[in-house]
């Protein structure tokens, strides 16, 4: 009887430990999936250069996709089932390439990527862009535990970092830069990461 109780407590402790684990090595994750992640960034920026948009998976199964299609007058937000005919019609209507979007969706699903967007940021009055990619690996999918997201930012040019690897505003302005209220750390000169409660 005593032994049985001990097993239950031990099991509960293990579950608690695993479900509260927040420090999965993102650098490792990035290097393991680098080719796919870099492809997501590449495909996304290519489509975005033609027409601005952002893309989100709204469910855990990565079956529902929400598209924010920006035009001169309005931003249209639509939600579809992956592969739904209605999505192709809509994309064509707004001048998007459905094949390219489908490629992006496939890539995103393969690495549990929940959000891709283009963000502007400013350094000394100059506007710059970065690609913002949020990952929701299944390792974080525990009930009653706050969802955590890996965020990757792809910059267009090499960035500056302090000795601890924190992203800085610039070479002259050596204060830590925040993006979406989060401090980012170095993976390489152009790619940074953070762990966040929000995917955007």
């Amino acid at each position: 009887m005593k032994n049985k109780k001990g097993h239950i407590i031990f099991g509960a402790l293990i579950i608690l430990l695993v479900s509260s684990c927040k420090t999965v090595n993102i650098t490792h994750y990035y290097h393991r999936h680098q080719s796919i992640l870099d492809s997501i960034e590449l495909v996304y920026t290519q489509i975005y250069a033609h027409k601005p948009f952002s893309i989100e998976f709204t469910d855990r199964a990565f079956d529902r996709v929400s598209l924010e299609l920006a035009t001169d007058t309005l931003t249209y937000i639509y939600e579809f089932w992956v592969g739904e005919d209605r999505m192709q019609d809509t994309l064509r209507k707004y001048g998007f390439d459905p094949t390219a979007i489908q490629t992006l969706i496939t890539l995103m699903r393969s690495v549990d990527c929940t959000w891709a967007n283009n963000l502007d940021y400013y350094t000394e009055e100059r506007k710059h862009y970065l690609t913002y990619i949020s990952l929701w690996p299944r390792i974080f999918n525990f009930p009653f535990v706050n969802k955590k997201y890996y965020i990757l930012t792809y910059f267009q040019q090499p960035q500056y970092f302090d000795s601890e690897g924190n992203l800085l505003v610039g070479r002259k302005l050596r204060r830590v830069r925040k993006i979406n209220a989060e401090v980012f750390r170095r993976i390489n000169d152009r790619v940074c990461y953070t762990l966040s409660d929000k995917f955007r």
Partner: protein, 294 residues
């Protein structure tokens, strides 16, 4: 082509028309002409971190593209940004005059409301950063900070003075009562409002109500943004309103509502169910007619 898609395109064509149902008191051309003749000091004694050229650029951009005004990433300026919809669209000249007076004299009046921003706010304007395009819009920083500094409510009770980063805290928060008060006292409009900060309004025919509101005058919705602009996949979310948006059009097909709203930086079209809109909606404020005092 699906019928719903056709329906949306029909709405978009209709929605491309300029904002209506509100009398304009001045035009963008008048505001720009005033701006072009105004003489500004190179630096303001009162706003040391507001750069002259960015300030003027910002005002011109607001007058020519009022829908592009942006509240800033992660700030609590949404109430003030929503309020800005009125002067920028219906009285840009008054807006420009007010901002220039504030810049040169350190104080200004909007109708009967006098603004004397605190020294902390004056020092902060122009220094807010990591807020997207708000970083390079010092006039918007001045405007938002001055409004937050001038109008207070119970939400701001424990954040009386501005400190670095206060723009993201309850110091800048705006509830429904304060929002309505700002419209009435500053803009002089008569409004109709329903809702509260905690309980949803019991509107039986939501579509009918909102459609009538939009046709009557500029309509503001006080919503729970954790559902409208989802930022995480948590099942449990706060059940209180957090955000103001301007509803510019609403159409219904079956149980699907197609809404077009201004959400700072631009207008958005999306389809929601009536039950979803009821779930996120905590307040509706719309202008009924212009006050005689104007």
């Amino acid at each position: 082509m699906r019928p719903r898609l056709l329906f949306i395109f029909a709405i978009c064509f209709y929605a491309a028309a300029p904002a209506r149902s509100q009398e304009s008191y001045s035009t963008p051309e008048e505001a720009l002409a005033w701006l072009n003749t105004a003489k500004l000091p190179d630096t303001s004694l009162y706003w040391p971190n507001v750069k002259n050229h960015l300030f003027l650029e910002n005002l011109r951009a607001n007058v020519t593209h009022p829908l592009n005004m942006y509240q800033g990433t992660n700030t609590n300026f949404c109430g003030y940004a929503a309020l800005s919809y009125l002067p920028l669209n219906y009285d840009p000249l008054q807006y420009v005059r007010f901002m220039l007076a504030l810049y040169t004299d350190g104080q200004a009046s909007w109708h009967k409301v006098k603004f004397t921003p605190s020294p902390e706010v004056m020092l902060a304007a122009g220094t807010l950063h990591f807020k997207g395009v708000l970083d390079i819009r010092p006039a918007d920083q001045m405007w938002f900070l001055s409004l937050a500094d001038r109008f207070r409510s119970y939400l701001n009770l424990f954040h009386t003075r501005f400190h670095t980063g206060s723009e993201d805290t309850f110091w800048a928060a705006c509830n429904l009562g304060k929002f309505n008060r700002m419209i009435k006292r500053m803009m002089g409009y008569k409004i109709k409002a329903i809702g509260s900060d905690l309980l949803r309004p019991g509107i039986r025919d939501l579509y009918g109500y909102l459609q009538k509101a939009v046709q009557t005058g500029t309509t503001f919705l006080y919503v729970n943004n954790t559902y409208l602009h989802v930022k995480n996949h948590n099942k449990s979310r706060f059940s209180f309103p957090t955000h103001f948006i301007v509803l510019t059009d609403i159409q219904k097909q079956d149980d699907v509502l197609t809404i077009i709203y201004w959400d700072y930086g631009g207008r958005t079209l999306r389809q929601v169910t009536t039950s979803f809109l009821k779930k996120i909606l905590y307040g509706v404020t719309y202008l009924v007619k212009d006050n005689d005092e104007k």
